[in-house]
C-alpha cells in the first residue's frame, strides 16, 4: 500500500498537468467550437517567452506579465483576427485543420524569432522546484509540484464558476453554437469571440509557464506529446464538464505513475508507456462513455442557411468543349512528362519527382478519406510507416521481392487501419481525428522503435525491387514503377467515387441520419473506406521507402502526418489531381528550402504549410481548385455571374 502511494503521490501533480491542458481544450471547445490542437503550442509560446525574459535577467513578475498576462491574450487576439474569425460557422473538422496549421506555425515562428538553442531547466514561476515544502508519507513535495496542484485546482474552480454562473460564461457558450444567434440577442459576436480567445489563450500561457519546469528542457515537442493525455482528460469530461476533466486528468496522471512504478524499467515497453497509456485510456473512453457520442457530433448553426452554398467543383462547371480540350491537354501533358522523365531529365530531378509521386499515393489516401468520406485522419504517415516496415521486413527476413512487399504493405496497413477506426467511427469525425492522433503518437514512441518494425532512428533498409529479368534499381525504371502503381491507385479511388460506395459516402457526408434511414450501414461503409485509405498510405509508404532504399521512424512521425493533412487540405482534398499537386508542391518546396536557403530558414517550410491552413479556411475546396474555378469563371466565361433568384427560401 505504501509503495502504491509512493508511486501515486508524484502522479498527482503530473495528472494536474494533464488536467490543466485538458480544461483548456474543453474551454476552447465550449466557447469557440474549435477543438484546439494548437493549445499546447500556445502554452509553449508563453513558456518560451517567459524563459527568454527570465534568462535575460528580468524579474519573474515582469516576465510573467509579458509572457502570460499580456502576451498570451495578445496571441489569442491575433489567432482570432487572423484565423478563427473566418471559420465560425464552419464544421468542426474545418476548424480542426485550422488549428493544425497553427500547431505547425507557432513553434516554427518562435524558432525564427528566438533561435534553436537548447534551453535547459526552465525557470519556475512561483514556488521553487528545488525546495521541498513538506512530505506526504515520506514523499517529498517540491515547490514545482505544489504550485502545479494549487494553480490547477484554482483554475478548475474559477473557470467552472465563471462558466456556469456569469453572463460572460453564458455568452461564450452561446457563441460556440451560433455566432449569428448571439448577434440576434444584441451582442457583438466579434467581441464575445475575441474575449473567448483571449481567455483560453491566457489559460494556455499560464499552463505553459506552470508546466515548463516539469521538463528537463523546453521543447515544443514535449507539449505536443502531452496532447493525447490532455485529450483523454477532456474526453473524461465529455468535452463539457470542467470538474470531470480535472478529475480525469488527475486520475490519469496517478495511474500512469503507478503503472510506471510497477512495470520493469529499461525496455521499450515501459519507456514508451507514458505516451502509450493515455492512448489506451482514450480508446476505452471512446468505447464506453455513451455521453461522448452525443456531445461530439456538435449540432450545426441553426442559421447556417445565411451562408452561401458551397462552390461547385471546377470540373463540373466546364462546358463540353472545354472539358474535351482539358482532357486532351492533360493526356498530352502526362505522356510528355513521363517520356521526359525517362529520357532527358537529370537523375536528380527524376528522383525528386519520384519522391513526389510516391507521396502522392499517400496523399491520395487523404483524398479518399477526407475529400470523399469527410473524415480526418492524423496518422496517415504512421500507416505509410507500417507499409514501409512490412515491405522492408519481408524483404529482409523472407527475401521477398518488394513488389510482393508493396501489396503486403497495403494489406497490413489496412488491417491496422481497421483496428484504429473500429472504436472511433462509432462516435464521429472528431473522435476519429483524435484516436488517429493518439495512434500516430503511439506508433512514433513505441511501435516504430522495435527492431522488428522501423528500428527507431537507425531505420531499416528496403532494397529496390526486381521482377524476373526486369530490375527496378535505376531511378528511371523505378520512376516507371511508381507511375504504374500511382495509376492503379488513382483507378481505385476513381472507381470508388463513381461506384456505389462513393454515393454512400457522399450521402453519409451529407446526412448520416438520412443515409441510415435509406439502408446505408454507416459503420461498415466508413470502416471499409478507412481501411482502404490506410492501405493506400501503406503502399505509398513502401514505395517511398524503397525509393530511398532505407527508412527510419523519423520519416513517419506524427508531425509529418499533421503536415500531410494541412498540405493536402490546402492544395485540394476533393480531387485526385489535388493529391498529385500536393505531392509535387510538398517535395519541390522542401527541396527548394533545404537546398537553396541557409539552414536557419529551415522552419520557413513549416510556416508556409501552416499558413496554407489559413488559405484552407478561406477556400476549403483547395487553392488549386479555387484557381481553376476562378480561371473558368473569369477568363473563359468572361466574368459571367449566374443570376438566380430561386435560391434558398
Amino acid at each position: 500500500m505504501s509503495q502504491f502511494l509512493s508511486y501515486a503521490i508524484p502522479g498527482l501533480p503530473y495528472g494536474c498537468v494533464f488536467a490543466l491542458l485538458g480544461m483548456g481544450l474543453v474551454l476552447t471547445y465550449q466557447t469557440s467550437a474549435v477543438f484546439n490542437l494548437a493549445f499546447g503550442a500556445q502554452a509553449y509560446a508563453s513558456a518560451l517567452v517567459f524563459y527568454v525574459c527570465v534568462s535575460d535577467g528580468w524579474p519573474t513578475w515582469a516576465a510573467f506579465l509579458v509572457s502570460v498576462v499580456f502576451g498570451a491574450p495578445l496571441l489569442g487576439v491575433v489567432i482570432d483576427l487572423g484565423l478563427f474569425r473566418f471559420v465560425r460557422s464552419r464544421p468542426v473538422l474545418v476548424k480542426l485543420v485550422a488549428a493544425l496549421g497553427l500547431l505547425i506555425v507557432i513553434p516554427a515562428v518562435l524558432q525564427v524569432a528566438f533561435g534553436t538553442s537548447n534551453r535547459y531547466s526552465p525557470p519556475s514561476l512561483w514556488l521553487s522546484p528545488s525546495t521541498v515544502y513538506f512530505r506526504v508519507l515520506g514523499d517529498p513535495i517540491n515547490g514545482g509540484e505544489l504550485s502545479t496542484v494549487i494553480v490547477t485546482a484554482a483554475v478548475a474552480l474559477l473557470l467552472s464558476l465563471m462558466f456556469h454562473f456569469t453572463q460572460t460564461g453564458l455568452r461564450m457558450r452561446a457563441m460556440a453554437e451560433s455566432p449569428r444567434m448571439v448577434q440576434l440577442a444584441g451582442l457583438s459576436a466579434e467581441r464575445v469571440g475575441m474575449t473567448s480567445w483571449m481567455l483560453s489563450s491566457f489559460l494556455a500561457g499560464l499552463a505553459g509557464v506552470i508546466i515548463a519546469p516539469v521538463f528537463g528542457s523546453l521543447q515544443s515537442l514535449n507539449f505536443t506529446q502531452l496532447l493525447v493525455a490532455a485529450v483523454a482528460a477532456a474526453a473524461a469530461g465529455s468535452l463539457v464538464s470542467l470538474p470531470y476533466t480535472f478529475l480525469g486528468g488527475v486520475i490519469l496522471g496517478i495511474l500512469e505513475e503507478v503503472l510506471g512504478g510497477y512495470l520493469p524499467s529499461g525496455n521499450v515497453l515501459s519507456s514508451g508507456l507514458r505516451p502509450g497509456f493515455p492512448f489506451i485510456v482514450l480508446l476505452a473512453l471512446l468505447l464506453f462513455l455513451p455521453g461522448l457520442r452525443r456531445r461530439w457530433g456538435r449540432t450545426d448553426d441553426p442559421l447556417a442557411a445565411c451562408d452561401p452554398p458551397p462552390a461547385p467543383i471546377a470540373s463540373t462547371m466546364r462546358d463540353p468543349a472545354l472539358y474535351r480540350a482539358t482532357r486532351i491537354g492533360t493526356t498530352v501533358f502526362v505522356i510528355a512528362f513521363v517520356l521526359s522523365c525517362l529520357t532527358w531529365i537529370t537523375d536528380n530531378w527524376v528522383f525528386t519527382l519520384s519522391q513526389a509521386l510516391a507521396l502522392s499515393i499517400v496523399f491520395l489516401s487523404l483524398v479518399l478519406l477526407t475529400g470523399m468520406s469527410g473524415q480526418i485522419s492524423l496518422c496517415q504517415a504512421a500507416f505509410a510507416g507500417v507499409g514501409a516496415f512490412t515491405a522492408g521486413q519481408l524483404a529482409m527476413h523472407f527475401n521477398l521481392s518488394i513488389l510482393v512487399g508493396i501489396v503486403a504493405a497495403g494489406v497490413v496497413a489496412a488491417l491496422v487501419g481497421v483496428v484504429v477506426a473500429l472504436p472511433a467511427l462509432r462516435v464521429g469525425g472528431l473522435a476519429l481525428a483524435l484516436a488517429t492522433l493518439a495512434f500516430g503518437l503511439l506508433a512514433d514512441n513505441i511501435g516504430f522503435q522495435f527492431s522488428w518494425s522501423l528500428n527507431g532512428d537507425s531505420g531499416i533498409s528496403l532494397p529496390r525491387p526486381t521482377l524476373g529479368p526486369i530490375n527496378f534499381s535505376s531511378d528511371r525504371s523505378f520512376f516507371l514503377l511508381i507511375i504504374v502503381v500511382l495509376a492503379i491507385c488513382i483507378a481505385i479511388v476513381e472507381a470508388i467515387r463513381r461506384g456505389t460506395t462513393g454515393r454512400q459516402l457522399a450521402a453519409l457526408r451529407g446526412s448520416e441520419l438520412a443515409a441510415a434511414s435509406i439502408g446505408i450501414n454507416p459503420a461498415r461503409t466508413k470502416i471499409g473506406v478507412f481501411a482502404l485509405s490506410a492501405g493506400l498510405a501503406g503502399v505509398g509508404g513502401a514505395l517511398y521507402g524503397s525509393l530511398d532504399s532505407s527508412v527510419s521512424a523519423s520519416d513517419f512521425n506524427t508531425l509529418v502526418s499533421l503536415v500531410f493533412v494541412v498540405v493536402v487540405a490546402t492544395v485540394g482534398v476533393y480531387t485526385v489531381e489535388g493529391a498529385i499537386e500536393a505531392g509535387l508542391a510538398y517535395v519541390l518546396l522542401n527541396n527548394l528550402v533545404t537546398s537553396s536557403l541557409p539552414s536557419s530558414w529551415a522552419s520557413l517550410l513549416e510556416i508556409v504549410f501552416g499558413a496554407g491552413a489559413v488559405v484552407y479556411v478561406l477556400h476549403p475546396e483547395g487553392v488549386i481548385e479555387y484557381l481553376k474555378r476562378f480561371a473558368i469563371e473569369h477568363l473563359v466565361r468572361g466574368g459571367g455571374e449566374r443570376a438566380e433568384a430561386e435560391v434558398l427560401a
Binding site: 457558450r173 452561401p308 452554398p309 443570376a643 435560391v647 427560401a649
Partner: protein, 252 residues
C-alpha cells in the same frame, strides 16, 4: 412605395432598391417597401421567392449588395446584426433558432439579460413562462432535446415577451399545433397593441390577413404587390400567389 405614410413618425422599416445575394446566387432584385410604424405588414409569396432573405437583410444577418435600409429613419445598411438588434429590432428566424446545447432558461436569459436589467430580466422570464407554460415545465432541459414545436415556442418567447420596436417573424407558426397557433396570434395582437411594428412572413394566408394591415407579395426575388390588406381578400391573395383557390378536401 407601399402605404402612404401620412404620419409624422418615421417608418419602422424601409427598403430602398435593395439587392441581396448568397455568394454567386442573387436572391433579391431592387426591392423597395415600407413598414409604417405601429402597423402589421405581411410578407407573402411562394417558397424560394426570397421572403426569408428580406427578413435576414432587414436584421443584418445577410448583407445587402445594393440599396438602402432604414430602421425608424436611421440608415442601417451596412450595420452588423447586433447593432440593428440594439435599435429595438427583434428577429425570430425560420427553422429552429435556439441554442441547442443551452437549457431553456439560459436561452431566454441570454436574450433578456443583454437588453434588460437583472430584475427586469427576471420579470420577463416569468412572463415568458406564463405565456408558454410548456417552456416552464422544461426550463432546465437542453433546448436541443425539445420537440420541434417546443423549439419554435422558445424562439417566439425570446422575441414576444419584451415588445421590441420592430418585430420580424419568419415562418411564424411552422410546426405548431392549432391551439398554439391561436396563442401565438393572440400574443402578436398584444404586442401590436403595445406599439410594436411587425413584419410577418407566413404560409397560412388567411391567418396572416386577419392580422395584417399591409401586404407585400414577393415572387422570384422581386416585389410584385404592395397594398393595404383591406384590398386583398384571402381568395385574391391565393390568386396572386397563383394557387388553386379551393382547399384540398376529402374527395380530391
Amino acid at each position: 412605395m407601399s402605404a402612404p405614410g401620412a404620419e409624422a413618425l418615421p417608418a419602422a422599416l424601409q427598403f430602398e432598391h435593395v439587392d441581396a445575394a448568397y455568394g454567386r446566387f442573387r436572391a433579391l432584385f431592387d426591392v423597395s417597401f415600407t413598414v409604417p410604424s405601429g402597423s402589421v405588414t405581411a410578407l407573402l409569396g411562394p417558397n424560394g421567392a426570397g421572403k426569408s432573405t428580406v427578413a435576414r437583410v432587414a436584421t443584418g444577418l445577410v448583407p445587402s449588395t445594393a440599396g438602402r435600409i432604414l430602421v425608424s429613419g436611421r440608415d442601417v445598411t451596412h450595420q452588423p446584426a447586433w447593432k440593428i438588434t440594439r435599435l429595438g429590432v427583434a428577429h425570430a428566424p425560420e427553422g429552429r433558432p435556439v441554442f441547442a446545447s443551452l437549457d431553456v432558461e439560459d436561452n431566454l436569459r441570454l436574450t433578456f439579460l443583454s437588453q434588460l436589467s437583472r430584475k427586469e430580466a427576471a420579470d420577463a422570464l416569468e412572463r415568458a413562462y406564463a405565456r408558454f407554460p410548456r417552456l416552464a415545465e422544461r426550463r432546465s432541459q437542453l433546448a436541443g432535446t425539445l420537440s420541434g414545436g417546443e423549439q419554435r415556442m422558445l424562439a417566439l418567447a425570446r422575441v414576444l415577451v419584451v415588445p421590441p420596436r420592430l418585430l420580424v417573424v419568419d415562418e411564424l407558426t411552422l410546426g405548431l399545433a392549432p391551439r398554439m397557433v391561436d396563442e401565438v396570434y393572440r400574443a402578436l395582437r398584444d404586442i401590436r397593441d403595445a406599439g410594436t411594428s411587425l413584419l410577418v412572413v407566413e404560409q397560412q394566408i388567411p391567418r396572416a390577413l386577419e392580422l395584417a394591415e399591409f401586404v407585400l407579395v414577393l415572387r422570384k426575388g422581386r416585389l410584385v404587390q404592395a397594398r393595404p390588406a383591406s384590398e386583398l381578400s384571402a381568395g385574391l391573395a391565393e390568386e396572386i400567389l397563383s394557387v388553386p383557390a379551393a382547399p384540398v378536401d376529402g374527395s380530391s
